[in-house]
Amino acid sequence: MLSNIKKCYDARWVLMAFALFLFSAVSLQAKSAPELKEIKGVVVDADLNEPLAGANVFVKGTNVGSASDLEGKFSFVYNASGEFTLVVSFIGYKKYEETYSLSADVSNLVVKLQEDIFQTEEVVVTGIANRRSKSVAEVAVSRLNVDQLTEKADYSSLNQLVNGKLAGVQIQPASGNVGGGFRFFVRSGGGLNGNEQPIIFVDGVRVDNSQLVGFFTGGQGVGTLSDINPDDIENIEFLKGSAAAASYGTNGSNGVVLITTKKGRISAGSRGGVSVNYKLTLGSNEQSFDYDPADFVTANDANNTFRSGDIQQHNINISGGNNFIKYYTSFEKRDEQGIQVGNYLNRHNLRANIDVFPSEKLTFTATAGFTASESDVPQNDNNIRGWLGNTLLFASSYAFTDSLSIANLRNNADTDRFIGSFQASFIPRKNLEVKASIGVDNSDLRWDEYLRSDLFYPNTVNGQRSVWTRSNRQITFDLNARYSYSLMDGRLQGTSIVGTQFFDRDVRTAFFQVQNFSSPLITDIGAGADLQDKGESKLNTRDAGIFTTHSFSFNDTYFMTVGLRNDFASSVGENAPDIFYPQASVAMRLDKFNFLPSTFGLFKLRAAYGETGILPALVDAIPYLWSAESGGYGAGAVLNAIGNRNIEPERVKELEFGFETELFGNYALEFTYYMQSARQSIIDFRNALSTGQTATAVPFNIGKVDGKGLEALLQATPFRSRNFQVDLTLTSSWQTNEVKDLGGAQPIFDGFDVNVTKEGLRNHEFYTFDVIGARFNEDGTYAGSEITDERISFGNPIPNYTGSFALNVNLFKNLNVYVMADWATGHSIFNLTKQFAARFGNVPELNRLEYQLGFTDTPPEGEEGLQQFSPGSAAYKDAANRYAQLDFNVDGAYIEEADFLKLREISVSYNLRNLVQKIQAANFVRNLTVGFSARNIWTTTKYSGADPEVNFDGARSLSRGQDFLTLQNPKVYAFFLQIGF
């Protein structure tokens, strides 16, 4: 299958031809005699009667329109040929839509917009090519209006934006590394396969969401999503499970994240339709947790490895346009140091987004984002060259590697990345829209490691140089047609969509590593005498699908959508030439009935069902693969992978129910209950070692896992007046899952043998042995710890309950205060740091006990008066039992509850615009805001370690919730200045 020569005939071009055919075959509608209408008016807040600047005013079904100015006024000309519908939209307000006859006077309109607390009128994505307002959506949708967040705080990367803000979406950064990887956990985790990560689209381009680990740093890598500039993002939408993401088909079982970057817009008050915005951010990352000498003998040495990490960011964007073209361009430069030497991120981002409207029926959109980033990954985690590994394990610091060597070790990832798309949208008829888009995510990474030859490093002979290159190219192609129609005198509205989606990924890597340099003055790879390792790989995968969805609305009260998708992929076996995914959803607006009091502005019940899948790995369907291993005899054939030619995708089904309601006009509640069920999960059977066929485990479609959960969102604006507004947001989620079947396979453990996938337990559960107490010899002396015969459960590294509370207060329109706290309960973490420190004599309590129990005659330093206990005495027994509870040979003794509450974000900002505009010479300044934001500034947790949110082995490993000398997440302080012209 894979050895086929790539065929010249490429189906993509056939599909392109199909697109062109659609464009050319549909005839343009004949026009009637037009009349030039001048449309003028003002947009105001319906409650406060205050002008709204920046509202988008346009004629429905066309690109003709304008934005309201600082006084809320708008004016434009429309060549009308009959009655037309005027649409006025503004973020945070319900959409205004009114139809006017040709003879109507539209020269003095007053458009009153109602605030949309719950964003019910906001158009959201409900499936591939399917967008509808939230008030009629049959699935739970989550949308984050990022531009509102970045206006009032500093965000380094995507995970900081999302963290704590969406019910049902958990984000866990693997460490406090600047530029490091993070992991999504969406709802109850979907199936057992696929790293539990959603697929991510940026402006329609499926982007790389890998965590890249080049050369050894202990466990952490670089997150590819760190390349994206948060200030360029307009909004992020989440389709959280199979019910919503079914139309995305294969790989959608952990949801779909749709990131939309900013578009060109004519800002209120801008001159000549052009606005320029500059944002300066200055800040620092700070150590958030101090190691205590009561916990580690060498705590102060560890604390001394931290520093203040400077943050500096410049962000400038230019936006504007007219009725023919709109553009948004930006440049970002961010320099950020981590809290330890050897960690920084230097990121440059360039973006240019253009919308062109050559006619009322045709729109071209081009987006282009280029990133040049450089990050240095510090040494920590499971690493004898790490800062914390050398200051927290032994009672004498830097036993493995001295500080000079660590400080001079370089592990540097340098990335150039382009994410761009081109989209054409054509409306040949009033009710038909055809869209075609092609997008590229192309990144080139070079990872350099350098260990100086004049410094000592374990496992290294006279220095080491390593280079890894990775070229990743992803092409996404979409084509779809959307047809809207009306039946039963307009009471039944229908929309049908048919489309296809193609995805091509090509990853090439190469690396080499040498040691033994004669001089630190010459460090090129050719100067290393000993070749340590080298290699190369190429992986080309494709998947494709065709889909159709049909949505119906009856009397604006009943809603239904049905859909199908058929997928094809390179990586499936002989039994699955194609994969079929259905979906169906319904909703009902109870507020349309009379029995509900008028206090309910909206009350919608909804239910949805959908299926998605997770593809096997590309080589899973190939029974045996051999590779070449170099050694003393040359390169020889060794078994490299064992597959199963019958492998199929895992299938994940989801059923969700929920409601949304809006009360008294200023309270809104959303609630969703979901059930997930994965079947045909791919379980890797490990052959017995004695077979010799153990290069990889063998995949079989035999696993089952069920999950369920609740999500609730409460939004409120209890106070709203001209000069004072309070907005509250409360999210709460609960989730759980249970592995139902492994098909007879043994439990699957992570590398440290504690996280398990086992029937009857939650996935990733901590499952290991525990200490019962001390055992005693006949003479009363300690005889070791008594350990459970069987493994037992110690909770889970993924919290059951998560929630957040956000408060936004706006005073006098110019002063804004924002606070957000989030929490997690039902959360456990494995404190490997303490376990290994205990093993190596760096835990003072254990050292004291060893003296008190008579294991050593030398009291710990500084505790010379410590009393030794007599065997058999009550004090001896107590000490022995405590000593047993700290048995470092028993993992269960070091798994801790780790529920936490974090004051995650605080910001205070003040807009000086009114002040500045009073100055004649500065009245061109449209916006001047100064502010301060802080992150992770306070934490309370049951966990005794540094940070309950980290994992030593990065963001993609089987290991979860294991803190092994892992860098804590820092406190972040930032001052920012925004100025707009």
Partner: protein
């Protein structure tokens, strides 16, 4: 007509999608199994067998040396951190000891690669005869050697040596040695007569060792007499910096987790000429204590001797002494001593032979068996005297209750 067109379009899309996803570039770093069953791949496959043998034997020597009293794990030595090594050193081996699993994996892979190559050669009709003979010789030798290692080093319980092949039942060492001999006999049949019959002498030497370990002293003597002789190169595993000798980063200059027992320094103190035979060097512990680590494999590329003529001489010495031929025993031992520039011995007994084996076969994977053969086990009763076959094997092997 429109419906027909839509139907045709959808049908076309189905075809296009399926064609599209199958038209991917081939892998460049892996190849499907069936493509290797070809005459042109025989050398490539043979090298694979040798390579896996090399990654097995030095590791086996090191871990068995750690379990014996040859080497010691002490956390006072900088960079000695592996809990799995400590378990081995103390004989308190947990069922999830992944250091031992790693050796067991390599050993089983080497056996599988060898037998897989023999299977392929049966399906390849046009192989070059010399390449085929060399492949057969290598495969039979390695499949025999791995069985001997399995019998000598591993066990399911603390005191019963033996191993497992291909997820089968536990095979006690005595039976496994017989299986090793069967494979060695097949290797003998494929040994080259070139190079003065060196390949044949290598196999005879390995057969002699198996007989010695199995207690068949007469056969051991016979084969040792036909084994490697003074002047023959050791039959060694070869390494590169890409695939280094495990001693280098396990108990050597690259990283010192294992140190050698203090007695080896005592040997040199007692007779400085022993420094020619016992290659060690000092390393300072965190506490300031001076320890000794091996210098027999000073480089990553240092070859590891699988079998040597010195071992044959010592087998001849031992079997001769057991046969009450002390003169032959003495001359055999003295021939080895002379090679290292050591003075001749005038008398010999079994203790002397044990000591001579301890010194001569230093770090070559013999001490663990010798301790048991001569009832000199150094750890308390109840501890493991073999490398424990772990839960990864037991859980996946239905013949072991998995």
């Amino acid at each position: 007509m429109q419906r027909v067109l839509i139907f045709l379009l959808v049908g076309f899309l189905f075809y296009a999608c399926n064609d599209y996803v199958q038209s991917v570039d081939p892998l460049i770093d892996q190849v499907e199994d069936e493509r290797l069953t070809d005459a042109s791949q025989v050398i490539f496959l043979t090298k694979g067998v040798q390579q896996r043998m090399a990654t097995t034997v030095a590791l086996a020597g090191m871990l068995s040396g750690g379990l014996s009293d040859e080497m010691v794990f002490d956390q006072d030595v900088p960079n000695a951190t592996f809990p799995t090594f400590r378990e081995i050193d103390e004989g308190n081996i947990e069922p999830d000891n992944n250091s031992i699993d790693g050796l067991f994996t390599n050993l089983s892979e080497a056996r599988y690669f060898a037998e897989d190559l023999i299977r392929r050669l049966g399906e390849i009709s046009d192989a070059d005869p010399e390449q085929e003979r060399e492949a057969m010789y290598t495969s039979y030798l390695v499949s025999g050697l791995m069985r001997q290692y399995m019998a000598s080093y591993f066990g399911l319980n603390p005191t019963e040596p033996g191993g497992v092949i291909n997820a089968g039942p536990f095979i006690p060492a005595s039976e496994m040695y017989n299986l090793a001999l069967e494979h060695y006999q097949l290797a003998l049949g494929k040994a080259s007569t070139d190079d003065g019959g060196y390949q044949g002498r290598v196999v005879n030497s390995l057969i002699a060792r198996v007989h010695l370990l199995a207690g068949n002293y007469s056969s051991a003597a016979t084969f040792a007499e036909n084994g490697l002789v003074s002047g023959d190169e050791a039959f060694s595993a070869l390494y590169t910096t890409q695939s280094p000798n495990d001693y280098y980063f396990g108990g050597g200059r690259g990283r010192t987790q294992w140190i050698v027992d203090f007695r080896f320094n005592d040997y040199i103190t007692a007779d400085p000429a022993e420094a020619n035979r016992i290659l060690i060097e000092t390393i300072e512990g965190s506490s300031g204590t001076i320890y000794y680590r091996q210098a027999a494999f000073p480089e990553q590329t240092s070859p590891y001797p699988i079998v040597t003529w010195q071992e044959m001489s010592l087998i001849i010495a031992e079997t001769s002494l057991r046969n009450n031929d002390s003169g032959r025993a003495l001359s055999a031992v003295n021939s080895v001593r002379a090679f290292y520039g050591l003075g001749t011995l005038s008398a010999i007994d079994m203790d002397t032979i044990i000591t001579e084996r301890d010194k001569t076969l230093f770090l070559q994977g013999h001490r663990m068996m010798d301790e048991k053969r001569f009832n000199q086990w150094h750890l308390p009763t109840g501890t493991w005297q073999v490398l424990r076959i772990g839960e990864r094997e037991i859980n996946a092997n239905p013949n072991l209750g998995g």
